[in-house]
């Protein structure tokens, strides 16, 4: 094992600045991951040419692969940086921001569009209120298991970065928010508003913009069966379209 790990980082000083690359060496240690390496660079922000520079900017919170914050492009692939072990990826390691989203600075990106999309699909159960009502309805444990799987989505944006149909050139809201609609349609109370969500998915930029490249399911860090649920939703919106047409 070499005692240094080389990082080639695509940087950008501001939203409208030009990208450039800088290279850093980080001391190797077992179990080193990309976030830990970026933290080392923070402590000593000096490039391989010995130039003292501003530390690299990126976003991270939990470092346990549940918060979704540290998604970036590592050696070309969109993934969480906290669980990208240096031992398991090719060196030198290339880091770049996920340019499907607007870049704020360096590896820091603006993913607010994903949260806006969750508004569009009405991703919530219409509750009368947070007060005590009565017992919640019983749920089929198998359905609940499916819901649990989809509910792991941490809005990291890997699937949007990988999806060829998401980006500035398109208005597709992307796999993650689309599939969230299915989560709420599964819930015994949430399903009351399923037609609303399906109609929302039929809007421009909704599920019809999916081109079945199926990259989403390959890159999802939570292994959510996105394409299966997209197909299910396709089935559901078709039925909804018939209902709309013939007023069933």
């Amino acid at each position: 094992m070499p005692d240094k790990v080389r990082f080639i980082i695509e940087r950008q000083d501001g939203p409208n600045e030009k990208p450039y690359t800088q290279e850093f060496d980080v001391d190797y240690r077992p179990g080193l991951n990309v976030v830990a390496a970026l933290m080392e660079i923070q402590k000593n922000p000096v490039t391989v040419d010995g130039k003292k520079v501003a530390p690299v900017t990126w976003e991270c919170n939990c470092l346990e692969k549940v918060c979704g914050a540290c998604m970036m492009v590592i050696n070309g692939k969109a993934r969480q940086a906290c669980c990208a072990l240096v031992d398991e990826i090719k060196q030198p390691i290339h880091l770049a921001p996920a340019r499907t989203f607007p870049v704020i600075r360096d590896l820091l990106i603006d993913r607010s569009v994903m949260f806006e999309s969750l508004k569009k699909i009405q991703g919530w159960v219409e509750l009368d209120g947070s007060w005590d009502v009565k017992d919640a309805p019983i749920q089929n444990p198998y359905t609940a298991q499916t819901a649990y799987e989809i509910s792991h989505c941490m809005t990291c944006g890997c699937c949007l970065e990988a999806c060829p149909n998401v980006g500035p050139q398109s208005d597709f809201i992307g796999p993650a928010p689309t599939v969230q609609a299915y989560l709420f349609n599964l819930h015994p109370l949430g399903k009351f508003d399923a037609p609303k969500r399906l109609n929302a998915l039929m809007e421009k930029g909704g599920i019809t913009s999916c081109g079945n490249s199926q990259n989403c399911v390959e890159v999802c860090p939570k292994s959510i069966k996105l394409t299966t649920y997209l197909a299910q939703l396709n089935r559901d919106v078709n039925k909804q379209a018939l209902r709309n047409m013939f007023n069933f």
Partner: protein, 603 residues
């Protein structure tokens, strides 16, 4: 902006479970919320809670009762929790669970489709509702969704990627607003509010590496502490015995590993030594968290038997059938493989205790008002409910419950409280100016220290002196060292002068707050001459740690006569030091008794 000016405006800082529930409550009462967060609220640290949430559902035929939950919580907290407050929480718990169920939290279910319950440490009954091993994530998401619904209705303005800097008080000393900074554009702005609720979580980062997220730095708590808010019981820091040590963070390895038969060992004289089984033959590997932590610490630090001389011991599951492991612990083991790169089904895991949770925090009354009128605190950043030690799966409960209390109370204060005079534009601008000046000053710092290295040093200090074992010598030393760090803070050099997302400058500001909070923790520990819950203090004899005739360290006992009191820490602006006093609290419902997990609990 055609906004209804008669609407009450509540500023809520922090978008974890507590902050979000408070937000929902305020909206339901017709108020408007400005919600501030370091990150999109969906990425808040609440999502790291794995095990579950306690509530007496009594659906397992075990005759569980709310009183039993109440007693377990008080007993687990070594009788330092306000019993009236705890009682309110455990009584509300089952209702909260039903509400979460209606909101769509995908709880794990029995074959009949009702909520399943699991066992958890320190409780005899199955009482923990759970959603696989990501209960916190699921609850946080459900609340995030509900808040989004209110956002669409126009009741919530989210200020995500905004850092809370300080509160603004009016002439009468009543909190009427806050100053915050946009973390991307660096814009500093003053906001008015009828009530401010802090729900900013724990201070884990004060210890450097811990099981908390990088955003859990306690900076906001420290900021209001410097503005006159009292901190209570800061010395009570829960240490989790089994975490995966990492240079970036210590990742929690659930207690379930030991529950499913995991054995803890190190090499001694070339042979595996199952020290927990030898030291505690009755409970073996299943001793409570604090006991396990102290034993592991002893083996590594005092006996020098850690793996390769490092502070690590083995947590071994490799003797257990891998199919069984997959069924019971699948998700957790995958996490280990993912972050360590080794398969725990084949090789023993390497673990070490880690700072996990702060029982202490901002002092609040039972409805979550701080000592500053108009300022409230809610969630892990307050000190309520857990006393000297928190029971597993009570953290999600206290986070949720406190939000349901603080939200309505904030509205009550906004409507009927004696709020004094409104903030004038000049006052708002003055507050903004002050923060702007402080920030501009940070940008010009050109000393020789690196803030991140100082942070690392502080973490090392805190782990050395204020973690598992404490003694007054060490605590004194630590206070001296922390003061030196505070001085060295002035000599920080900034490398980043950017006006976009300048994380370094923000971190420098947070670091100062963290050092001051560290001093409060340390001073609180120094003054509490007893052992209680998570706070274990070694007896000194002639200035040295006392050992008994078997060479074992002697710890102080619990001293109800002197220390059955809440530690109150006030900030002295002149010396920048914490000032300690003690306050009585309500423990009228359950009579204190010795806490001893070696025998079954007796009421």
């Amino acid at each position: 902006m055609a906004k209804d000016m008669s609407k009450k405006k509540i500023a809520i800082v922090g978008g974890g479970i507590s902050g979000l529930l408070a937000t929902i409550k305020v909206c339901e009462l017709g108020g408007e919320v400005d919600l501030f967060s370091y990150c999109p609220v969906k990425r808040s640290h609440s999502l790291c809670a794995q095990g579950g949430i306690n509530a007496c559902m009594d659906t397992k035929g075990e005759h569980d009762s709310i009183y039993e939950h109440f007693d377990d919580t008080v007993y687990g907290g070594d009788f330092l929790a306000d019993q009236i407050a705890v009682k309110g929480m455990v009584e509300a718990a089952p209702k909260l669970i039903k509400m979460f169920d209606r909101m769509g939290v995908p709880f794990t279910r029995t074959p009949e489709g009702v909520l399943d319950l699991r066992n958890f440490g320190g409780q005899k009954h199955k009482r923990t509702c759970f959603a696989g091993s990501t209960t916190g994530q699921q609850i946080l998401y459900a609340l995030d969704e509900q808040v989004r619904r209110w956002e669409v209705k126009g009741s919530v303005n989210k200020y995500e990627f905004w850092e809370f800097i300080k509160i603004i008080k009016n002439k009468e000393g009543i909190c009427r607003g806050l100053v915050a900074q946009n973390m991307n554009t660096m814009e500093i702005r003053a906001f008015t509010a009828d009530t401010v609720i802090l729900a900013t979580g724990g201070p884990g980062q004060v210890f450097g590496r811990c099981t908390a997220s990088t955003i859990c730095n306690g900076s906001a708590v420290s900021a209001v502490y410097q503005q006159g808010a009292e901190i209570a019981n800061p010395e009570f820091i829960q240490i989790h015995p089994t975490a995966i040590p990492g240079s970036d963070k210590n990742r929690l390895m659930s207690e379930a590993c030991r529950g499913e038969g995991g054995r803890v060992w190190v090499y001694k004289d070339g042979k595996p030594w199952y020290f927990l089984e030898e030291m505690y033959p009755a409970y073996g590997n299943l001793v409570p968290r604090d006991v396990a932590s102290r034993a592991i610490y002893k083996v590594c630090v005092h006996m020098g038997l850690g793996i390769n001389g490092e502070n690590r011991v083995y947590l071994d599951l490799s003797h257990i059938d891998s199919g069984y492991l997959e069924r019971k612990l699948g998700g957790i083991l995958e996490m280990y493989s993912e972050f360590v790169g080794q398969d725990p089904r084949k090789v023993p895991m390497e673990i070490f205790p880690s700072v996990h949770y702060s029982m202490g925090g901002i002092w609040v009354d039972r409805v979550h008002n701080t000592n500053i009128p108009g300022l409230m605190a809610s969630g892990e950043c307050d000190y309520q409910y857990h006393g000297a030690n928190r029971l597993g799966a009570n953290s999600l409960l206290s986070a949720a419950y406190s939000g349901t209390v603080s939200g309505p109370e904030a509205m009550k204060w906004a409507k009927t409280g004696n709020k004094g005079s409104d903030l004038t534009d000049a006052e708002l601008e003055a507050a903004r100016r002050e923060v702007q000046n402080e920030y501009d000053k940070i940008l010009t710092m050109n000393g020789s220290e690196n803030a991140h290295k100082l942070h690392h040093e502080m973490g090392d200090l805190m782990y050395k002196y204020v973690a598992i074992e404490r003694d007054n010598n060490g605590l004194d030393t630590c206070l001296v060292e922390l003061k030196k760090l505070l001085k060295r803070w002035n000599d920080i050099g900034i490398t980043d002068h950017s006006t976009v997302a300048n994380q370094e400058a923000m971190f420098v500001r947070q670091l100062r707050n963290m050092i001051l909070y560290a001093m409060a923790i340390t001073k609180g520990a120094r003054m509490r001459d007893e052992s209680r819950g998570a706070h274990a203090k070694i007896v000194l004899e002639n200035g040295k740690q006392k050992h008994d005739k078997d060479g074992e360290l002697v710890f102080m006992g619990r001293d109800d006569e002197h220390f059955m009191k809440v530690t109150i820490v006030n900030y002295d602006p002149k010396t920048e030091e914490p000032v300690i006093s003690y306050r009585d609290f309500d423990h009228s419902l359950i009579k204190p008794r010795a806490r001893n997990y070696a025998v079954a609990k007796k009421e």
